[in-house]
């Protein structure tokens, strides 16, 4: 599904963010990406989203070398790899429904598809009754669920979550994890960068630990492994 082959990323010729990363992620995996700040987690995600190009090596997504995709074709890659951020990034002047529909409108989905998909994903994240509310009327956890609904509305095969629980209290964080796990069970590969020790320890999923740009641990049913 996702394969990193000898991938290195160096910023400004001296700042080595990732060094010779070799990694394989299978379809349907749930992966925690852990490591101290500056370990290379963000760079890893940026490379996957093709926001940055690796200095060396190749990255394959569904057998396609994404380092060889032209900038013009990048949008089509992003329809298959969607992303959820720590800060939700919802449009304040649109309702929950409109925020999710927006993701479909901009890739020119038909209104019939939109009318079918949006209620469905709202149901999946448990927000069917909040469709007409605006983001400022929602709690943090609800906002993150909206942003997850938006990320999956176009049926991506990979969902990247960049510290999705970073702004939430532990209880709400668990709600988010349930939603992510549910999405993962439907077959979507989930890659989640996180600092949440208890979540990683409890979930017992594959853990990839980065430090100073290198993979220092890749463990199935792993634990967080750091004392925060």
């Amino acid at each position: 599904m996702i394969q990193f082959k000898n991938v290195s990323k160096t910023y400004n010729k001296t700042n080595q963010a990732l060094i010779n990363i070799n990694l394989e992620i299978n379809k349907g995996d749930f992966i925690f990406l852990v490591g101290p700040s500056g370990a290379g987690k963000s760079t890893f995600i940026k490379l996957l989203l093709k926001e940055e190009e690796p200095t060396e090596g190749n990255i394959f997504v569904e057998h396609q070398d994404i380092t060889k995709i032209s900038r013009r074709k990048t949008p089509y890659l992003r329809r298959n790899i969607s992303v959820v951020f720590q800060d939700f990034r919802l449009l304040p002047n649109k309702t929950v429904y409109e925020n999710i529909a927006f993701a479909m409108e901009v890739i020119e989905a038909s209104s019939r598809e939109i009318r079918r998909q949006v209620p469905m994903v709202l149901g999946m994240v448990g927000l069917s009754d909040k469709a007409k509310q605006y983001p400022h009327e929602l709690s943090g956890g609800e906002r993150q669920r909206v942003s997850i609904a938006r990320a999956i509305v176009n049926n991506p095969s990979i969902l990247i979550a960049d510290e999705p629980t970073g702004n939430l209290d532990p209880e709400t964080a668990w709600e988010i994890m349930k939603v992510l796990k549910q999405i993962n069970r439907r077959g979507t590969t989930v890659v989640m960068a996180t600092h949440a020790k208890d979540i990683v320890d409890t979930m017992q999923q594959r853990v990839i630990a980065l430090e100073k740009g290198r993979i220092v641990r890749d463990q199935h049913k792993g634990a967080y492994g750091y004392e925060d």
């Binding site: 089509y76 992003r78 329809r79 990034r89 993701a103 901009v106 038909s110 176009n154």
Partner: protein, 298 residues
């Protein structure tokens, strides 16, 4: 592209214009002002061109006024001699009476005014048609050696001067226009930048959910082009009424026959409408490109 997408883009374009009303007005004014100046320059250049074209048509001939005392034989010998000059195609004799009739014709409705003239003081003349306007200088030099000629009327220098003036105005005008258009473009680019800033968040999301680059860019193009086109329309209205007014002034108040020489309002508009439309939309599109290149990395 789907109709809904096109609707979306046009709507976003207009929302952008409305959101930054102040800057939009500044952009439109600047385009309108630049094009209005261009309109004035086009007016002048077109008219001088027209005038010199008419002049060239009339003045690819050399008219020699003959002395009144010449006899019929002398006139005809002179005619043959002139025809023999190299470069002369043929000559036409124009008698005093012919000249008067021609004048009446040119004056049109006011021609009857000439009836009060008691004495026809117009000279007999030969109208010399030369092969081309370049040889006329040599022909004139030859003519000066002939006897019986009162005056050689020869307008190549006038035509040359007019063309020189037209070229000069065109050159100065082009320079001026280039600067004005650059300014207009800069102002549009800044307007677009404001819209870009207002929509930063939206664009960021669009990128992450996989909207194509063109999907993201189009609304800004539309915004720029609409700004440019509105400016063009305002400039066209200005040029139309301004020129109409000047045209009426020139043709009715001043000289009798001037309407022959002045380019009509319709012809003027038929030249300016396509030029302004293309330039207006072009300046707008360029302004967007400048802004998008600088501020929108998709």
């Amino acid at each position: 592209m789907k109709i809904r997408t096109i609707n979306y883009m046009i709507k976003q374009g207009f929302i952008g214009i409305w959101r930054n009303r102040g800057m939009s007005i500044a952009s439109i004014s600047s385009v309108a002002a630049s094009l209005a100046v261009l309109g004035v320059i086009i007016t002048i250049v077109l008219n001088i061109n027209n005038l010199s074209y008419i002049a060239q048509m009339q003045f690819d001939t050399i008219q020699v006024y003959l002395e009144d005392e010449l006899t019929v034989e002398e006139i005809s010998t002179l005619g043959q001699d002139i025809t023999a000059i190299p470069g002369v195609q043929y000559v036409e004799y124009e008698s005093k009476e012919d000249a008067l009739n021609k004048m009446k014709e040119q004056w049109g409705e006011q021609g009857h005014l000439l009836d009060v003239l008691e004495d026809n003081t117009l000279p007999n003349s030969y109208v010399i048609h030369v092969e081309n306007i370049e040889v006329s200088d040599d022909v004139v030099k030859e003519l000066n050696n002939f006897a019986g000629i009162e005056e050689v009327k020869y307008h190549k220098d006038i035509v040359d001067n007019m063309l020189r003036i037209a070229n000069f105005i065109r050159a100065i005008g082009l320079g001026l226009i280039l600067i004005l258009i650059l300014v207009a473009m800069f102002i549009i680019a800044n307007t677009i930048k404001l819209t870009l800033n207002a929509r930063k968040q939206e664009i960021n999301i669009m990128k992450y959910v996989g909207a194509t680059n063109w999907f993201i860019r189009w609304p800004f193009f539309i915004e720029g082009m609409v700004l440019g086109l509105i400016g063009a329309v305002i400039a066209l209205i200005f040029v139309h009424y301004g020129y109409q007014y000047t045209f009426d002034l020139l043709t009715t108040r001043f000289y009798v026959m001037l309407s022959v020489y002045v380019v009509s309002v319709e012809e003027m508009m038929s030249k300016t409408i396509p030029v302004f439309t293309v330039l207006g939309a072009g300046v707008g599109a360029l302004g967007s490109i400048v802004s998008l290149r600088k501020h929108l990395r998709v």
